[in-house]
């Protein structure tokens, strides 16, 4: 299967602001890797995919109890910018 990658689209999905040169370099490297990875298509048969977990664990639940959480000040101290107990980010949309 020939691997044709719309690398600019993939970079946009991944939120990576790359230059044209970087995009070209990654595109050619990804082609080589995907060429090798496409060997998964040589698998014969169709095994049943049940769980990635070797011990067959299922989802776990816990009681919805109030418990102590991380200290808010300590957590916010790691943020690039915070105000009044909130993380600060620029607007989600461009200002017209």
């Amino acid at each position: 299967m020939p691997v044709d990658i719309d690398i600019a689209h993939v970079a946009r999905l991944a939120r990576l602001d790359l230059t044209e040169d970087e995009l070209e370099a990654y595109k050619s490297q990804l082609s080589v890797i995907l060429d090798h990875a496409a060997r998964v298509q040589s698998l014969e048969g169709d095994p049943h995919v049940e769980s990635a977990h070797p011990l067959g664990l299922v989802n776990v639940y816990r009681e919805d109890e109030v418990r102590p959480s991380l200290d808010r000040e300590e957590v916010l101290a790691q943020a690039p910018e915070s105000v009044d107990g909130f993380f600060v980010a620029p607007p989600a949309l461009d200002n017209p």
Binding site: I5, L18, V40
Partner: protein, 490 residues
């Protein structure tokens, strides 16, 4: 002349309990070794002098008061820098986390502290554990104490180099595709990945969550068992944690291999394998036969495509896990007029080339139109590998192979060829895809004096069997070589 740093955990523990050495004395010896070798090795990103000193003094106080916290009490331990340590910088060797001080400890860190272990510092790795040489670190490469022009392997290369040179008695690493076993092999020490789910991943900075598993890098098989016993066990903070019962890894260390069936995987040999590595592994298999094991050659055909499946599944999971690094809540932030522009610039600036490559690869493999051909098919290969393993374990107790097809390679040799680098993990990846335990034990050196590792694989929760065989391999190999750099500093 012998040094405190040459001791193993059992020997050091005896001296601590007889009062011949103190935990502070062991720590000073370890820091002295680090000071003499870090300029060449760069095994550590952070040495925590203050925290380590306080922990060593506390261990000495407890010992003096007759409080025995177990085999790791007072023992200097190094941690791969993708495990969170409260208040101590944790970067996963990424510039995007420069300066990050976690507000909590990983569960393994809590367990080590509760056992009286002395955490000396945070070791170097490939950025976010993606790589096989530490050359993808955002803070510079680590080097191999057996030959400082070569890499120590990776991604847990800093932990491997630190234990090999004596800058820690034992260390923790994480293994997603071989990242404990391959550096242990290239650095001449013991390393193992336990059964998936047995060591909590809470506080481990995630790379590929269905594959990641923490485990020990140690000087001896017994030390590895003691380290594993300290860190594993059920943890409600990790939804994939195994509740029990747990095997006793040390229960069979002295039993030998008489009557055991050892499977040799035919796929893990041939083209790409160095002749000296293959010869050393073949010699060990002969020795195991002479020691009473029955040797069975086995074919596990899906191993041929395990690497391909891995390089779809791991990047897919990585692309999702690393979405959290966005410049909003922690770590590096770039300027941007909108949230999206800020995120995209932050990530482009903060991630190195290999991490960027894998995020792109994973995003592509998961994207509409390609999902079933790549990710879906890789999951089917994974299931087929688990079936192959299950069939093999119907007729043998363990499987064996080289750990790495080559000895330690020169720094710079593979950096421009991602696929060649990925092939370093060809022997280790199947056990990650199956979730089974696997272990590397040093068995000799090649003509250049570089260590060769022997891999023992076992079924899920087969740690007792795996350790039993590994201990016999260790006895038969009688590996006594020392790294070149150790001669220089002695």
């Amino acid at each position: 002349m012998s040094f405190l740093t040459d001791l193993n955990i059992v020997e050091a523990g005896e001296l601590l309990r007889s009062g011949e050495v103190t935990a502070v004395g062991l720590l000073e010896a370890v820091f002295d070794r680090a000071h003499k070798t870090e300029a060449q090795l760069h095994a550590f990103l952070t040495l925590d002098y203050g925290g380590a000193r306080a922990a060593a003094e506390a261990a000495d106080d407890h010992l003096a008061a007759g409080i025995d916290q177990g085999p790791l009490q007072g023992i200097p331990v190094a941690l791969k820098d993708n495990m969170c340590t409260r208040g101590v910088e944790t970067t996963a060797a990424s510039q995007i986390l420069a300066g990050y001080q976690p507000p909590y400890d990983a569960t393994v860190v809590t367990r080590l502290r509760d056992a009286g272990a002395v955490i000396v510092g945070k070791t170097n790795l490939d950025e976010f554990a993606m790589g096989s040489s530490t050359e993808n670190s955002g803070y510079g490469t680590s080097f191999n104490p057996w030959d400082i022009s070569r890499v120590p392997g990776g991604s847990s290369g800093g932990s491997a180099a630190a234990v090999a040179i004596g800058s820690a008695f034992t260390a923790l690493g994480s293994d997603t595709g071989g990242s404990i076993r391959q550096p242990a092999s290239l650095s001449g020490i013991v390393g193992l990945k336990p059964t998936y789910g047995t060591v909590s991943r809470y506080g481990l900075i995630a790379f590929a969550s269905s594959l990641d598993q923490i485990g020990p890098l140690s000087k001896t098989v017994t030390d590895a068992a003691l380290t594993l016993e300290t860190i594993w066990g059920h943890d409600p903070l990790d939804a994939t944690s195994y509740a029990g019962p747990y095997p006793d890894p040390a229960s069979g260390l002295d039993l030998g291999v008489s009557g055991m069936k050892v499977g040799v995987v035919t796929e893990l040999s041939g083209e790409g394998y160095e002749p000296e590595v293959e010869a050393a592994v073949a010699r060990m298999i002969d020795q195991l036969a002479k020691a009473g094991a029955e040797i069975v050659e086995l074919s596990l055909p899906t191993f041929e495509i395990a690497l391909s499946a891995y390089y779809l599944i791991a990047p897919a999971e990585c692309s999702a896990n690393l979405a959290r690094f966005d410049g909003i809540r922690y770590g590096h932030r770039a300027e941007g007029a909108t949230t999206e522009a800020l995120m995209a610039r932050t990530r482009a600036e903060g991630f190195g080339p290999e991490v960027t490559r894998r995020i792109l690869l994973g995003t592509y493999a998961l994207s509409a139109g390609y999902y079933d051909a790549f990710y879906g098919q890789a999951q089917r290969v994974r299931a087929a590998i688990q079936e192959d393993f299950a069939r093999a374990y119907e007729s043998v107790d363990v499987l064996v192979s080289p750990t790495s097809p080559t000895v330690a390679f020169k720094a710079g040799d593979r950096v421009d060829d991602p696929l060649a680098m990925y092939l370093s993990d060809i022997c280790t990846i199947p056990s990650n895809l199956s979730g089974h335990p696997a272990m590397s034990v040093p068995i000799g050196v090649d003509a250049q004096g570089l260590p060769i590792g022997f891999q023992v694989m076992a079924p899920a929760l087969g740690e007792s069997t795996m350790f039993r065989v590994a201990a016999e391999v260790e006895r038969l190999a009688a590996f006594a070589a020392k790294p070149q750099l150790a001669e220089v500093v002695s």
